[in-house]
Amino acid sequence: MNKLLAVIRREYLARVRSKWFIITTLLAPVFLVAAMTIPILLAVRQAERRVAISVVDETGEVTPELLKTDAFKEGRLRFRPAPRGDTEDVQRALRQQILDEGLAGYLYIPADVLEGGRVEYWGRDIGQTLVRATLRPAVTSAVRQLQARALGLDPATAARLAQPVAVEAYRVTEEGVAREEGQTVITAHILGLVIYMAVLLYGAMMLRAAVAEKTSKMVEIILSSIRPWQLMLGKTLGVGAVGLTQIAVWLGILGMFLVYAGSAQAFADAEFLKNLPVGFDTLLLFMGLFLTGYFLYSGMYASVGAIASTEQEASQLQIPVTLLVVVPLFVIPVVLEAPRSDASLVLSWIPFFTPILFIVRYVLGAVAIWEVPLVFTLQIVTILFVAWVGGRIYRVGLLMTGKRPTLPELVRWIRHG
């Protein structure tokens, strides 16, 4: 027991004391905050920038209405008069202007737009926000005004007709009803991603830890004192403790950030944070799945490390294991779209995918309570199996250097190890 503690302590201190650990632990939150705020800042700047567009209007009536819309009045769009002449020639000239960088784009409004003709936007950058949030409402509003006037309606009625009908979503759960503004989906996605990153990060750490005795030629000295399983278990727990330490530091920094931000009025008012669907139960499940995911994958990474003789070789050999972690990453969108579908259910039960996909389904409220013990039983059984196989590979692999074993040899190690 003391020996196991000695191994755990060594593995833990060797990592926690390294410069890299200190740097990544402190810098990761900085990157995270940057990753969260930079897109928002960019979007704000984008919104503030005026987009100069021209209009080629075959009706001659739409343009004046268009200029009355919010987009132009608020200055998000700036009107640049188009040259007169044949529409084909004008469009060709405008396209040249676009290429010459003077003009962002132009709208082509066909003569039959009031009867359902399609409006076109030609531009260099076709941002979805521009088209959906700015151009479409503006054109719709202008066209509705003209249609209303043709029907003899007043402008106020026309404005109402142009408004899309709001559809609000409410999520019905056992705890009650909550307004849904997408935060549940985002939270589910983020928690899934965090487990993905943690498994990958600490799996890679375990991989290097498993080759350490080989690269330092300490294998025999260590094995004359303790059994391979003690070494492997000690390493797994030591590296796991490193992971927990790092996560604790990050949560601490996040907590301080939230307390600080909470005092700022902007955040205090944010509906988003108030309705964050992360309860104590979610955190508990998250920690549980982080741990099982870590043990599951660290066992596999340790086996890979034991087969390799050098770190370079190990990083080649780990690819199949890493693919197994990456698959659920690509499945997350499917689960987000339909967390209750049979496919989502079955995928989230597959032990290698469970740590990432199950938390996603849970946050979305798609998990039946009886699934939790089932899934954890599957996790533990799989971990024991992986540890058993990995332990055998590790035991034989530790003393092997140079030649990499073939697949049949590996099977022999596992059967006779």
Binding site: N2, K3, A6, V7, R10, A14, S18, A212, S216, K217, M218, V219, E220, I221, I222, L223, S224, S225, I226, R227, L399
Partner: protein, 306 residues
């Protein structure tokens, strides 16, 4: 179970695929002795050592260490210096020694105190808080050596302990090995250096092609070789010594300063060397037929065909 034995091997066999590493090896090593494990490269020495330490399992046979099978408790009473040895390069010297001591069941504080004493003695005290990769190879080797004696083991197994050390350090470590023996420890060490083995060992075991070919005290082994007709001539002459180049007579000459130790070709009587010396007209100061040196015995055994 024999409590007077440090190591007892009965009919140990080990094959790797088709290669036989150890074949039917028996060995009995009494306590408080120093035993040399000799043999050409690839003879099976390291495999034997690994089997004794249960780092690999034997295919057949029985292993007893310090009077019983190798339990975790027994393991703590054994110190091992492998041939393939390294250290965690990023660790500080003292911390690493304490860690290795702990792995042998020594309490942290005890291990720390002893490690400091040893570092002091081997002139490494200034390096205690340096990282291992700042040490020279020789220094690292001394640290490795400390780790094998730190827990005061009853059995020391050293695989090529002196390889790569300068003569001063070889002497220091030899002194420690002898001291361990005086303390009551048993030492089994493998070496290619027959002079070292001859000076340190009371017993030798020689393995060749996976089988044991010699086993006994140094005196017994020499006596055995004498009985088998192996001779060495200690010769001191003045003048022409070209006859020593005669390959039909002489197999090898070892210059020992005051005299030469001459090994004769198989079947050549010592008398014929004396005749050759007389014919050459040299003055013979010394002509002594002696038991062969361990080196000589080793070479003869290693060259012998089955």
């Amino acid at each position: 179970m024999d409590n007077d034995l440090a190591i007892q091997l009965d009919n140990i066999c080990k094959t790797y695929g088709t290669k036989v590493a150890v074949e039917g090896l028996d060995m009995r090593l009494p306590r408080a002795t120093i035993c040399g494990l000799l043999g050409p490269n690839g003879a099976g020495k390291t495999t034997t050592i690994r089997i004794i330490l249960d780092i690999i399992g034997a295919d057949r046979g029985r292993v007893e260490v310090l009077g019983g099978p190798l339990t975790p408790e027994t393991r703590d009473r054994v110190g091992y210096l492998p041939e393939e040895r390294g250290l965690y390069t990023k660790m500080k010297v003292l911390e690493l020694l304490v860690f290795l001591g702990e792995l042998k069941g020594t309490a942290r504080r005890v291990a720390s105190g002893r490690a400091r004493d040893w570092l002091e003695r081997l002139e490494l005290a200034d390096w205690a808080d340096k990282k291992v990769d700042e040490l020279s190879r020789g220094m690292q080797q001394k640290v490795q050596f400390i780790s094998t004696v730190l827990h005061e083991p009853e059995l020391l197994i050293l695989d090529e302990p002196f390889a790569g050390l300068d003569p001063l350090n070889v002497d220091t470590l030899k002194e420690i090995v002898l001291e361990q023996k005086r303390r009551g420890a048993t030492v089994l060490f493998s070496t290619h250096n027959m002079d070292q083995a001859e000076r340190l060992c009371e017993r030798v075991v020689m393995i060749k092609d996976a089988r044991k070919v010699l086993d006994g005290t140094l005196a017994e082994v020499r006596r055995q070789a004498w009985l088998e007709g192996q001779r060495q001539v200690l010769l001191a002459i003045e003048g022409e010594d070209g006859f020593l180049e005669d390959r039909s007579l002489v197999r090898a000459v070892e210059d020992r300063g005051t005299h030469k130790a001459v090994s004769l070709q198989d079947g050549v009587e010592p008398q014929r060397l004396l005749e050759a010396a007389m014919r050459s007209g040299s003055v013979v100061h010394r002509f002594e037929v002696s038991e062969p040196s361990l080196h000589e015995i080793f070479v003869t055994r290693a060259r012998a065909r089955e």
